[in-house]
């Protein structure tokens, strides 16, 4: 790679971070320095491999562990002993033991800062602009909201990162998704990302790192940007990012791991150099108008199978491509829906507000605003993303609003998004969920998922069916 030529031409945000992390190039692959690695209980396979090969963690201070996937969302006063299922308890214990053994910083089940691995690092200031972050989870793209390259990897690659603090990669293609304009009434960042995925498809971003840009993103809070970046993987892109700006810097300042004093000024000066240069070129450009986006809901079994809540379930017979028609038919059958039925006629059995996509304070506030307007007629769970989010919401009295409206206020964790801590749907149960995946069986064998925003989920709880939240809010 000719570095001189590269630096002479305008660079993207991705180019700048990527190039600064190249240790060596070998046979067309680049060895990249990894600033920070994030793991959870599921890293057990990576630790098994480390043990098998007798290796240790090279830079334990740069690895952070989070108890989130397997922790229960009730009865947490008993700590790890409160987990009745021995196999599940063992996953949490193993993470605690492996972290202690290797000197890794642990945010364990009893930690007052405990929470989801994509919620806690931003809160703590561990996630910062310009970093290269690897996570043992596909939603690691969340951290890209701070203007860093963050992506998910499997157990073998995580073992390699832990053993060497580096990773082999090939250069990815670049895609810029520009969203301009003001968001309509009742529309949230979740609706934006669902609309993007519906537009480009579940593999539309494969092989690319996405940079989200445009006036809508500039006006968005860090919480909103994280929601957008979080679901990049649902469009096939391993990483999604937003250039850092004043919103980013003011979010970070004063957080425990953020630079302090003179180092803050030094870091700030470096971060301000990161945004893409004028004239930087992308391999692919996509544009959306924010004003065109309505509250989104998925009807199918992948995140691209969705549309505006005002729409209907599609008819496979009207789809020309035989394979897509078959895929749609299979999704509709699994979901127990009928072609042509209005999406807002779909009755739900359960509502889940949580996950690394939508469990930050703004998500909880948006849901509470709707919860105020009625009573939940189906079981509805609020699972904050972290203990910090939970305490903040309680200080604002949001838990009282939820309890009064018949919602259940639970403890932080991944819960019903990934459904491995014991929280799960029963076969055939239908859930309006603020999580990120509606795959067959994702929330429990035979469970049916409709992905929506926090406000839409709260509206579904009150109405017992998918509902256009704008109608509720308009009349309030």
């Amino acid at each position: 790679m000719n570095q001189t030529a590269r630096s002479a031409s305008p660079q993207t945000l991705v180019d700048k971070i990527w190039n600064r992390h190249v240790v060596v190039e070998d046979g067309g692959e680049l060895l990249l320095h990894v600033d920070r690695a994030f793991i959870h209980e599921g890293a057990s396979h990576a630790f098994d491999k480390l043990a098998e090969e007798g290796r240790s963690v090279a830079r334990p201070k740069q690895v952070f562990a989070f108890a989130d996937h397997y922790v229960p969302t009730t009865g947490r006063d008993k700590g790890v002993d409160g987990i009745a299922n021995a196999e599940i308890r063992n996953m949490v214990l193993q993470l605690h033991a492996n972290s202690a053994k290797h000197g890794i910083t642990l945010f364990g089940i009893d930690d007052p800062r405990q929470g989801i691995l994509h919620i806690v690092p931003p809160e703590q200031g561990i996630t910062q602009p310009g970093l290269l972050i690897c996570g043992a989870d596909s939603h690691t793209a969340t951290h890209g909201a701070f203007g860093c390259i963050a992506f998910g990897i499997g157990a073998s690659e995580m073992m390699h990162v832990m053993a060497t603090q580096a990773i082999w990669q090939r250069r990815q293609k670049s895609m810029r998704i520009t969203i301009d304009g003001e968001l309509g009434f009742g529309i949230s960042p979740k609706d934006i990302i669902l609309a993007i995925i519906a537009k480009i498809g579940v593999d539309g971003g494969t092989g690319h790192i996405v940079e989200y840009a445009g006036s809508t993103l500039r006006a968005m809070s860090m919480e909103g940007r994280m929601t957008v970046c979080n679901m990049s993987i649902e469009a096939g892109a391993r990483a999604g990012m937003v250039a850092p700006d004043e919103t980013t810097f003011s979010y970070l300042q004063g957080r425990p791991y953020a630079p302090k004093g003179a180092q803050w000024d030094e870091a700030l000066a470096a971060w301000k150099q990161l945004p893409s240069d004028e004239g930087a070129r992308y391999d692919r450009e996509v544009a959306l108008n924010a004003a065109d986006i309505a509250p989104m809901v998925t009807w199918g079994t992948n995140p691209a199978q969705g549309g505006p809540v005002t729409g209907v379930v599609p008819n496979p017979r009207e789809i020309k491509d035989a394979i897509i028609a078959q895929e749609v038919a299979s999704a509709i059958e699994y979901q127990g829906l009928t072609p042509g039925m209005a999406l807002c006629d779909i009755e739900v059995d359960k509502v889940f507000i949580g996950s690394c996509t939508n469990s930050r304070i703004e998500d909880i506030r948006a849901a509470a605003q709707v919860a105020k307007l009625g009573k939940a007629v189906v079981p509805a769970w609020i699972v904050p993303g972290s203990q910090l989010v939970k305490r903040q919401a309680e200080q604002e009295g949001l838990d009282t609003i939820f309890r009064n409206a018949g919602f259940e206020w639970r403890e932080p964790g991944c819960s019903l998004c990934t459904a491995i801590n014991g929280d799960q749907l029963r076969p055939g149960e239908r859930c309006a969920s603020t999580s990120n995946r509606n795959f067959k069986g994702r929330q429990g064998t035979g469970g049916r998922t409709h992905l929506v925003s926090p406000a839409m989920a709260a509206a579904a709880a009150i109405k017992g069916k998918l509902t256009d939240v704008r109608e509720l809010l308009k009349n309030s």
Binding site: V23, G28, H33, H45, G154, D203, I233, G441
Partner: protein, 202 residues
Amino acid sequence: MTPFTTITAIAAPIDEPNVDTNQLCPTRFNKVPRGPAYARILFHDRRFNADGSEKEHILNAEPFNRAQIIVADRNWGSGSSRESAVYALYEFGIRCVIAPSFADIHLNNCYKNGLLPVVLDEAQCEALRKQLREHPGSTISVDLAAQTVTDAQGKTHGFDIHPVRKKCLLEGLDDIARTLQYKDAFDAFEAAYKKERAWLYA
């Protein structure tokens, strides 16, 4: 890692795009330590009822229950980064998946476990799947060194693979040994980086 060189084996057609890793390995099995138990976990909820009895599924039936190759559709392995999806394929006996495209993370997970992902175009994959449906039990040969896939009728298709991934699969190498060769370069990089970004190490 067990090397991959050549294979001639029964291939199973899976006519479905966007097969996600939740299908390959339902989440509740992620905590199972790697081993033979994963053979039954592959497509578990599609292959088995809650009581453990078999459902109708291509991989449950002769001759496809002995398949070592899958010919799939586009975006194979989308979704979660779980490597257990590859363990399930591998323990079932699958050594090669042929598809028009793969999801990124799953693709890397295949390489790191000695399972060869082969990209052929949509028309080639569709033709192969049709042939396998019409002649159940017919074999496909894959030669990594020659970068070819040969179907039962003797028709050969070439495929691309990155030279480093090819070498690692052929020789059964993992990346750590290769990375450690560059220890001096890494240390020099890190020293300069720490100086430049001291706030990350405060």
